[in-house]
């Protein structure tokens, strides 16, 4: 198995305000290819720090993949640092020079001489085309190490990775990418320790298989990795253990591998021609936002009502005043009336509702922060489920919205 080291350069990444999405993308993509990520480093545009990060990468990994620092200005140093460490010379590439001048000509702007730096490459390097910007990338194989330099802007970086780097890693460098097999089994509804308890003896995996549990925003992912065996027996071993886990976890399993709860629910709604409407209180639009994160959701999503105030619940959804007085807004009765109310207005097949206390304020002795009711109205009935969540406002809202989607999924899949 090959090891990779990821370097993100750019002073803005050290300020804690810009998210380093490049290294997240590259991790996921390299892991898909069966490459092991041995570490990541983030450094500013300083020569000394860049040198240290590259040196550490060269020391510990087979592949060093860096983003950023390929621009034309004085603080764009990655090519220079790579050259120094690998002991190669920079040379001007005619074709890159020509290409750069063309880009500037198209934009009817003169090319500043400083941009010539973007046409300079280490002698042994192969330039990588940037179809979205002026900074070309490059790769270089030397001393059994593969160094890949990509531009910093995320769109340019992902585009270049997918178009130029991934095919390279797959083919030219003949990685043993087919010897690692993975299966990610995603569950919802149980906590990490409950999943562990339920799996029981299945936590002990056969030789050649590795298992890890990962808790991600209320989901528990069971990750299986098979490697180090003949392809056939790796596959078999992974498949056998997966089947047992899926059987044991039952309805809690909502998706596999790259599939998400959202894409699973979307495909259920799409293939069955089901239309959905929602009524949200404590999630305040998060459920609708999640549903409409998916392009094309207008096919199955009617829309909804954010009934954040009691007036909105009564006026738009038709929740009865007596319900709110007798049981309060955070009650199974209100969840039921909200779901049935929006389903009637929308004339949709299904309707989801969420009402609860996301906190930090608003709790009462019998209704603590984290108490949430989710409702699912359908032809002939309405189910209400009670949740008792912890972890603060954000996570309470996220798990509430996901649990509502999961209630719908289970209804469609198992009823």
């Amino acid at each position: 198995m090959k090891n990779a080291y990821i370097i993100s350069t750019g002073t803005e990444l050290l300020l804690g305000t810009t998210l380093d999405s490049n290294s997240v993308f590259l991790s996921q993509k390299l892991i898909e290819l069966g490459i092991n990520i041995i570490g990541k480093s983030t450094v500013g545009d300083k020569h000394e720090q860049l040198t240290r990060a590259f040196a550490l990468g060269l020391e510990s990994a087979d592949i060093i993949i860096a983003s950023g620092g390929l621009g034309p200005t004085f603080d764009d140093l990655t090519k220079i640092v790579a050259c120094e460490l690998l002991e190669c010379e920079l040379e001007l590439r005619e074709e890159e020079d020509k290409h750069l001048r063309e880009i500037f000509a198209q934009r009817h702007r003169p090319m500043p001489e400083i941009n010539l730096r973007q046409a300079m490459f280490p002698v042994e390097a192969v330039a990588l085309k940037n179809s979205l910007g002026t900074a070309p990338g490059m790769y270089l194989k030397k001393n059994d190490k593969l160094i890949i330099l990509l531009p910093g802007p995320p769109r340019e970086m992902t585009n270049m990775y997918l178009d130029e780097v991934e095919p390279l890693l797959k083919k030219d460098f003949a990685l043993d990418i087919h010897k690692v097999f993975r299966r990610n089994i995603k569950t919802l509804g149980l906590g990490e320790s409950q999943v562990e308890e339920k799996l029981g003896d299945l936590m002990h995996v056969p030789d050649g298989l590795a298992m890890a549990l990962l808790a991600i925003d209320g989901e528990i992912h069971i990750r299986l990795t098979a490697e180090g065996q003949e392809e056939q027996s790796s596959r078999q071993c992974l498949a056998d253990h997966s089947v047992k886990i899926v059987e044991r976890m039952g309805r809690n399993v909502f998706a596999f591998d790259d599939e998400t709860l959202l894409s699973r629910v979307a495909s259920l709604l799409l293939t069955r021609g089901i239309r959905l409407a929602v009524a949200e209180s404590c999630t305040g639009g998060l459920l609708s936002k999640m549903i409409t994160d998916m392009a094309g959701s207008s096919t199955y999503f009617w829309g909804g009502v954010i009934s954040y105030s009691n007036e909105a619940k009564q006026l738009v959804l038709g929740v009865k005043e007596t319900t709110l007085i007798r049981h309060g807004a955070v009650s199974p009765e209100n969840a039921r009336e909200m779901a049935q109310g929006i389903r009637q207005i929308a004339g949709s097949d299904f309707a989801l509702s969420i009402t609860g206390i996301a906190g930090p304020d608003g709790e009462s002795p019998d209704k603590p922060v984290g108490l949430v009711y989710i409702g699912l109205a359908y032809d002939g009935g309405c189910d209400v489920k009670e949740l008792r969540l912890g972890g603060g406002r954000d996570i309470i809202r996220i798990i509430s919205a996901k649990s509502a989607l999961d209630l719908l999924r289970r209804h469609i899949e198992f009823r």
Copy 2:
């Protein structure tokens, strides 16, 4: 100015699925104290990799702050690695041992012997209390370096940082934290290059001042840093230049420093006793979600309607069928009727609406992806603004929602 190096440990951080929120938090907090972040490293729980990351940190920074790897199991290695590099011995601390045993006794569970590892510390280290978990942290000053080890779970880490580490950095280590002054001027409505052009001569800052532009989800932040002078003249220099920039940028300035667009709008609504309702189409709940991200938003937020389908626009908001036929759903006319419709239903002071094409599908020759109309209905009128955005579905939705909030802010502040 002191330099810090941040290390995040944990194999799960290298998979590209778990966000490294610890290093983001630590960056922000250390920068607040005027400490310069020189680099960050993420490593798995492997002895060799941990050693390399710590060695790099010790080589390049004055302060090394690491999170994770303080648990009781065999792959929790940070204390061991720190000891080896600093050449100290591990010793068992009676008081920590006692404290651990109490925690287990409270939970009515026997303490596994392996947990004793959590009571072991380098001889010169000071233990840091963990009020939310079993793993204590520690700090150690040796050879002019300060090493701080914190637990990995974000809640425990942030809690320990704020309770134990921040006071330490402020007092005991007498950092020059008062010699750096910062001002962050946040603008909305102009692109990065437009801001640069508008600032013109103000891009050239006086000696002792540094300026940087940062583009963050449609916002452009103008960051000023003053350092290296007498406190009085640093402050003066920063204040003078800030005033000029704010004057030049005018209504585009929506907030300063830690204030966000959301907190600014929330405080305007709160202090003036204004109630708001919304009607969303292409943002599909994102605007409502943003507003309700703030605890306490029920004071000023009535709720809203996600009119994702044309039926919802007509049925709930009362948009005229002729409007949708003649002008389409993505039109200033529809934005106006949506805003006025929800304002009438809610009886609120203000109402915002958003309709547009978030893409990637749904465009027509005269209505490209990124065309968005936002409406603001108020007593006596309704304003509509056209946006032409790029950058893909997610960013189009985010900037649309922010622009709607900004339209409201400008109306309240300047009319």
